[in-house]
C-alpha cells in the first residue's frame, strides 16, 4: 500500500484502482444496509446503491480498455434497475395494503 501511494504521480491522473476501491466501499455499504435495515423501502434502496457501485466499476473498466462496452453494460443495468424499481415498489404497495407494515421482520408469513 505504501509503495503504491509513493508511486502515484500527481500529473499522471487518478489510478483506475482507486475507482474500483471506491466502488467496493460503496458496494459494502450497500450490503451492510441491506443486512441492517428493517424498512423494506430502505432495503430496496440499498440494492440500488449496490447496483450503482457495480456500474461505477464497469465505467472505470471501460475507461481502462478504451472501449464502449462497459458503458453498454451500465446502460442495461440502469434499464433493469428502473424496471425492477417499478415492479418492486408495486409489490411494496401491495404488501402494505395487505399487512399495514413495512417492517421486513413482520412480513414472514411463509415461515409459519
Amino acid at each position: 500500500m505504501a509503495e503504491a501511494m509513493q508511486s502515484i504521480n500527481l500529473q499522471a491522473g487518478v489510478p483506475i484502482s482507486w475507482y474500483l476501491v471506491l466502488s467496493a466501499v460503496l458496494f459494502s455499504l450497500g450490503v451492510a444496509g441491506f443486512l441492517f435495515r428493517k424498512s423494506i423501502i430502505t432495503v430496496f434502496m440499498c440494492i440500488e446503491l449496490m447496483l450503482n457501485a457495480v456500474n461505477l466499476s464497469f465505467v472505470a473498466f471501460a475507461n481502462q480498455h478504451k472501449q464502449v462496452s462497459g458503458h453498454i453494460f451500465t446502460f442495461f443495468v440502469m434499464v433493469v434497475a428502473a424496471a425492477e424499481a417499478a415492479v418492486g415498489l408495486a409489490i411494496i404497495l401491495t404488501v402494505f395494503k395487505n399487512r399495514e407494515t413495512l417492517n421486513i421482520d413482520e412480513i414472514n408469513s411463509l415461515k409459519n
Partner: protein, 166 residues
C-alpha cells in the same frame, strides 16, 4: 485537478452512502442515495462517460428515486423503530464491515497494481453517438430483450397495483 475532483466526489459519495445506511427516516435515506447517484454521475464525467452521466441523473435520480419518494410519501412511512437486533450483531457489525472494506480494497490494490490512470478527457468514446452505434449493432439482441423485459415489468406493475375488479 483530477485528484481534487476524484477525492471531493468520492468523499461525497461515501458520506452519502453512509448516510443512506444510518439514517432512520426513509426520506432522508432516499435523498442521501440521490446524493450518491449525483456524485457517481460526476465521476462518470471524469471517466469520459458523458452520456451515462446524464442518463444516470435522468433515470436514477430523476425517475427511480422520485418513484421511491412518491411511495414513501404515499405510505407515510415513518422512522424505523430501533432494537430487535441482537447485542452481538450490533457490537460486531461495524468492525466486520470495516474489515470487509479493508480486505476488498487491499485485494484490489494488490491484484490491480499498474492498471493505468484516469485523466479527464483522455477517453472520448462515451458520446451518445458511440453508445447508440454500439447499442444498435453489436448489442442489438440484448437491447431488444431489454425492451421485452420492460414490457413485462410494466404489465407486472399494473397487475400488482390495480384495484380489485369485483
Amino acid at each position: 485537478m483530477d485528484f481534487l475532483f476524484f477525492f471531493l466526489f468520492a468523499f461525497i459519495a461515501v458520506a452519502c452512502a453512509v448516510s443512506v445506511v444510518v439514517q432512520k427516516h426513509p426520506i432522508a435515506s432516499a435523498l442521501s442515495l440521490v446524493g450518491v447517484m449525483a456524485s457517481i454521475a460526476v465521476l462518470y464525467l471524469q471517466l469520459g462517460a458523458e452520456f451515462l452521466a446524464m442518463a444516470q441523473i435522468i433515470v436514477y435520480a430523476g425517475a427511480v428515486m422520485v418513484l421511491f419518494i412518491f411511495v414513501i410519501m404515499l405510505l407515510n412511512a415513518g422512522a424505523e423503530s430501533r432494537s430487535g437486533r441482537s447485542y452481538a450483531a450490533q457490537l460486531m457489525g461495524p468492525p466486520l464491515l470495516v474489515a470487509l472494506m479493508a480486505s476488498l480494497g487491499f485485494a484490489i490494490m494488490r491484484g490491480f497494481p499498474g492498471g493505468g490512470t484516469v485523466k479527464f478527457d483522455s477517453f472520448q468514446g462515451g458520446t451518445a453517438q458511440n453508445i447508440g452505434y454500439a447499442l444498435f449493432t453489436d448489442y442489438l439482441l440484448p437491447f431488444e430483450v431489454t425492451s421485452v423485459l420492460i414490457l413485462v415489468a410494466i404489465l407486472g406493475a399494473i397487475v400488482l397495483a390495480r384495484k380489485e375488479m369485483d
